[in-house]
């Protein structure tokens, strides 16, 4: 076969299975080949913490049997997908990229995973991530770093690096991730795929292992805007098991797609184009802005004056919530037990010693900003700044702006081991934490290549405004298709 099936557009994949042009088993075979190819050699991508091809083949046969029996197939029947390893599954371990949860298998499924399976998708495995989703490079995983399919000496981004790289490498067409301060959009930008962080509350967080609950959202990866939006539509919606999930209708992913941008106002905040930013990113973003104008949009300069405070506010709020959420990993409630420990205190200590350096740093910092004497100086102040950041966006949208356009990241993917300063880790999310603090929907789509590395552009919408940013992104994507991104380089011979 000249073209691997898994690289076909999602509608063609679904239709091909239904019309028996190929079988789900053939699709899984292609996926197995693609996976073997990218994991071979001295620099494997290291996409998955766990996967099970036998189970995938068995599920593919079930879909074929249903098809033969004339049963109605769900929309994603037989389509392979990947799930970030901080979403609970009953048939794969859920490690969160941590030794603390090594071998742990949840007794229940995350709602997003359940909905993905109910839609017929075949979950191939659990993708690599920074430990407990804390990081921006997937280097902070106990199971080794995930490499960037475009340049294996570089990071895939994070924390959902495994999911982004799996889609970019053509192993799966769809993948789920989670985004706390940029963990879907930043790796999507680094890997040249489309990542959507929905409005906080759009997707149930039930079964998503909590890092910072007021920021965490399940997000989606696809090769195109439509595919990522379709996956979002599949997993979104009210869930009685998550009180923070919104009881609102789920928008159709295809609604308004193909419409022009006449009458659409795009805001471009100067604060997201600071002096000294990577000129390659600036150039591609400026080109995309011109393209938006050519498509009929009105582009307006806007100001988000508290942008500079978003990263430090995020740094405080996220670690505070993390220190609280990660307290449960004590070897008693959750976490690797400590056989032979002489006391409960020893169990706690031995289990929590298994946290990696980044997790320990964030837990300690979170404990500091919540401790007596520091709470008002740090946590309360950060919570107020969060409100100011959200107000900035509200004023912009209230002024008639339909979507805000920014770069997704200040730079293309950096080299493995390049970022060692603990605060630099946060700076990589400088353009993604603001919308996260405000709880707004945002997506990253590829704009082009800079020295062979993908660069992403971010569109931010009003709360519950996913259809609007998907519509704008789809139009921009179609316009950029005249000069599309190439496929990532083929893996080096093993």
């Amino acid at each position: 076969m000249s073209v691997p099936l898994a690289t076909l557009p999602l509608p063609e994949l679904a239709e091909g299975i239904r019309e028996r042009r190929f079988t789900p088993t053939a699709l899984v075979e292609d996926v197995a080949e693609a996976l073997a190819a990218v994991e071979a050699g001295p620099e494997p991508l290291n996409l998955f913490v766990s996967f099970d091809l036998e189970r995938a083949f068995a599920r593919a046969l079930e879909v074929e049997a249903d098809l033969s029996a004339g049963k109605p197939l769900p929309p994603l029947a037989g389509i392979p997908a990947a799930v970030k390893d901080n979403l609970c599954t009953v048939d794969f371990p859920t490690t969160c990229g941590s030794r603390v949860l090594a071998g742990y298998t949840s007794p229940y499924e995350a709602t997003a995973v359940l909905r993905l399976r109910e839609a017929g998708a075949i979950v191939l495995g659990k993708t690599n991530l920074d430990e407990f989703a804390m990081g921006s490079s997937t280097e902070h995983s106990a199971y080794g770093p995930t490499r960037n399919p475009w340049d294996r000496s570089r990071v895939a981004g994070g924390s959902s690096g495994g999911s982004a790289a799996a889609v970019a490498a053509g192993v799966v067409p769809l993948a789920l991730g989670s985004d706390t301060g940029g963990s879907v959009r930043q790796p999507a930008a680094f890997c040249g795929v489309v990542g959507i962080r929905p409005t906080w509350g759009r997707v149930s967080r039930y079964g998503l292992v909590a890092f910072a609950s007021s920021l965490d959202q399940v997000g989606t990866f696809g090769r195109t805007v439509y595919e990522s939006a379709y996956l979002l539509q599949t997993v979104a919606g009210r869930d009685p098991l998550d009180a923070t999930s919104a009881d609102l209708p789920v928008p159709n992913a295809a609604v308004n797609l193909g419409e022009g941008l006449e009458g659409t106002t795009i805001g471009v905040p100067g604060e997201y184009f600071p002096d000294g930013m990577d000129p390659r990113v600036r150039t591609l973003c400026r080109a995309a802005i011109r393209r938006l104008e050519e498509l009929g949009a009105e582009v307006r300069e806007v100001s988000l004056p508290h942008t500079a405070y978003a990263v430090p506010a995020y740094a405080v709020l996220a670690v505070a919530e993390a220190s609280s959420n990660l307290a449960r990993f004590d070897g008693v409630r959750f976490g690797a037990p400590a056989p032979g420990a002489g006391s409960v205190a020893e169990v706690w200590e031995r289990t929590r010693a298994l946290f990696g350096a980044e997790a320990k740093r964030r837990i300690l910092l979170g404990t500091y900003v919540l401790s007596a004497g520091h709470r008002d100086e740090h946590h309360a102040r950060a919570a107020r700044v969060r409100a100011l950041v959200a107000l900035d966006f509200r004023w912009v949208f209230d002024s008639g702006v339909d979507a805000v356009f920014t770069p997704t990241t200040p730079t293309p993917a950096f080299r493995l081991g390049e970022v060692t300063d603990p605060y630099e880790v946060y700076r990589s999310d400088a353009f993604t934490v603001g919308p996260a603090l405000a709880g707004l929907p945002a997506l990253s789509l590829p704009l082009g290549l800079a020295d062979g590395l993908p660069v992403g552009g971010q569109l931010v919408g009003r709360a519950w405004g996913e259809p609007e940013i998907v519509r704008v992104a789809h139009a921009l994507e179609a316009s950029l298709a005249a000069a599309p991104l190439a496929a990532p380089p083929a893996p080096a011979a093993g």
Partner: protein, 108 residues
Amino acid sequence: MAVTPEEVRRLAALARLPLDDAGVAAMVGELGSILEHVRTLARADGADAALAATPHGGAPPLRPDTFGADLLHRTPDMLAPAWRDGHFVVPRLPELDPGAPRPEGETP
């Protein structure tokens, strides 16, 4: 104000994280560096701003104060690998079948 080694040890005790002296020394520098950046928040004039507990403002959504089945509650049969007639299904103990052959090397 820098973070002191004593403060890091106190935080580690509060967080139940074991840290050796080298770990404490590393954290003193790393936490101090991050907190230097965090202190820039003082420049934001947020004194009159509301505390944002959730991204959409206001109070977090709460469940109604009513008694009833907890949606998150899982009964044993929902968690058991195998379940029949109100009991867990487990492998039969060899002691219950004294005549049955035992795995090699195992003494009764």
